[in-house]
Structure formats: structure tokens, C-alpha cells
Symmetry: D2
Subunit: 108 residues, 4 copies
């Protein structure tokens, strides 16, 4: 089952500058993407991620584990939006493109 | 890694009465709880769920699969809040109790 | 426009024990409920809140302002699920009751 | 109080193709941005939006109202992540840039 998801991970108890921790997450994502497990795209309030359910959830679990075990975060809070569909496939790139095409149709 | 989470699952393309589908989710949860895999508590905008990471995520995956394969939903959208911590354990029940104790302290 | 929502507010940069801050939010909610602006119900991963859109969002805004101005939180992160409907009214209490009725139907 | 948020709006009871409705939301956002009320950036699982609290929440409220009143959606479900901070300002663009700078530092 393929999933297009979006997640935002926040370590708690590590102060209020989170840039360093966001970079940790991005490196985990880059590594998983190199291994062709997932695709991802960071935005300013989270990260789009797509792939098989177990790969996507495995990456997010990996982020929690690394935050606790290697980066000293006593608590980690993540919010995830998960979308699955059986009617057609839809990648991260296709979803944005189809909205832009719809917007164009009504502009002409 | 233990997780205390909260999720809200919405099937799309099945009309606007979702009670039947919420009941499907609740039966999946009840079944997993009977097998001691997870604990859960439904509220009016989602369901608290706690247990080991893989069990909790496995139940949510199971809900998506059943919605697609047995209940005809072409799309399923779920939002999840996930909390993990290494400083102490905290169950669903303890979290509410600790807030109520804090509120009492300031009332006296 | 009436809204049934669920929110989870997390102050960042204030350490990893959040019970005190959850209690602050609960007192703001109790105060708004006394004034009949909203109804609410805390659970272990957030709080259900219902009322007119502007009242509900006003209470959440008030929580952010108080966290910053009176409780020293440099950052506040909140996630909200918002539901509105025009087909029928549905309160926090009714939503849980309708699922329980559905579950009962299939047990007999 | 300035807010950097991310929201994902889903109309229910209108079938499983949502592209048309996402385009409606994007036009509301474009209109508000032209009036300098907010800035926004669509991604494949939602839209970043920033501005004053009341402007940002007003736009999301406007989306719900238009979905119900002009586009026939009996139910609308939205999830929002809201971030406010008093320690420094941080725009949508700055947040992504600061993570990319952090990633660069560790590459060299």
C-alpha cells in the first residue's frame, strides 16, 4: 500500500532552536531516498514523504529513535497526515501539478 | 519504543455519514486491545492509542487496508499525533490524571 | 458556523515537563466554558472543543498569547483538527454516542 | 501575533476527486495574498500560510464557508499546524533556508 504523507517532528526538552534537529531529520530522509525507499520534499512546516507504508513509517520511527538515542531529546512529538488511495496512483509531484492545471483551466 | 498517539481516520468518496466507518475502526481497535497489543480510548474527534510503535502503526495500517479492501473506500486520510519519551513512561490514563492533579494544586 | 475541533498545544523552550502548561490551557478553557462560549473535553493527547468558529479560534489564540506573555514560552506549536458541517448539527457528546449506537447494532 | 501555519482542507461528501476543491482554496489564498493579508505556498499535502493570527484564521474560515455555501460540501475537515514565536521572527522562506544552511555546514 503506497502512501503520500506529510510529517512535522518536534523534539521537546532541547531548547527552542530546532534547526539542528530538522537537519538531522533531513539527513535521515536523504539517506532513505538514496536507497530508493522513499521520496521526500521539505517545506517550512514539515516534509512530504511518499513510498510504501512500511518504508514511510519506518523512516519516521527511525527519526524518533535517533532523536532519543543520539541527539538527547527526552521527548519527541510528531504529527503526520497520511493519504492512501486505490482509485489511482498519485505522487507528490502529480498532486501539485493537477491543482495547477485546474487553476489554469479557469484562468483562460 | 512505546508511543502514546492519537489518530483520526476519514474515508473519502463514501458520502458524508462516517459513523459506520468509525465503528469499523473501533472494532479493529477492540480486537487489537483484546490481544493486548494496544490500549485505546475513543473521543469525539479521534482515538487515543498506546503501545509499542510497531503495534500502534500496524493497527492504523490495518484500518487503512480494511477501509480500502472490505469497505469500498477509494481514499483514506488519517492524521496522527505521535508522542514518544525516554525520561519516564506515561500512559493515556496517567497523562490526564497528572493534569487534573496540577489543576487541583492551584485550586486549594 | 459551528465547529467541532480538537487541539493539542505544545510550548517549546520550556523543558520537557508540560503538565503545568496543559493546566494553564485547561483553566483558559474552563473560563471560556463558564462564559458559555465553548464546550470542551480534555483527553490524553489533546482537547475536544466546540462552539462558534470565532469563539473556538479565539480561545486557542488566547492560549498562545498567555503562553508567550505570562508563562515565558518563546515558541508555541499547536495542531488542530477542525470539522464543520451543514447537513446536521453534531456535538462532541452526540458523535461518540452515534458510534456507540452503531457498534451496538452489530453486536446483537 | 504573527503565525506560520500549515493547513490541509478536505471537503467530505463530494466524491473522491478533490483537485477542484483544492483549486478553490488556492484561489481564496491568492486573493488574500494579493491584498497583502497573508503569504502562502502550496505543497502536495497542504499549504503553508503566514501572517497575523486573525488574517490566517480568517482565510481558513473563509475556505470553510465557501466550501459549504458555494461548492456544496456538507462537511469540511481541516487540519492545521500553527507555530508562533516571540524570540525571533521566522518566515516560511527563512525556515527552509536556515535548515539548508545547517545541512551545508555539516557537509564541508
Amino acid at each position: 500500500m503506497k502512501v503520500v504523507a506529510d510529517f512535522c517532528l518536534i523534539p521537546l526538552g532541547v531548547g527552542n532552536s530546532l534547526t539542528k534537529y530538522v537537519a538531522v531529520v533531513q539527513r535521515i530522509l536523504a539517506n532513505a531516498a538514496e536507497q530508493k525507499k522513499i521520496s521526500y520534499l521539505m517545506h517550512s512546516c514539515g516534509t512530504n514523504i511518499e513510498g510504501e507504508w512500511d518504508e514511510v513509517m519506518g523512516v519516521i520511527k527511525n527519526c524518533h529513535e535517533k532523536m532519543h538515542n543520539e541527539h538527547g531529546a527526552p521527548r519527541v512529538h510528531t504529527t503526520v497526515r497520511i493519504g492512501t488511495r486505490t482509485d489511482k496512483s498519485s505522487s507528490i509531484a502529480e498532486k501539485v501539478a493537477s491543482v495547477q492545471a485546474e487553476l489554469k483551466k479557469h484562468e483562460g
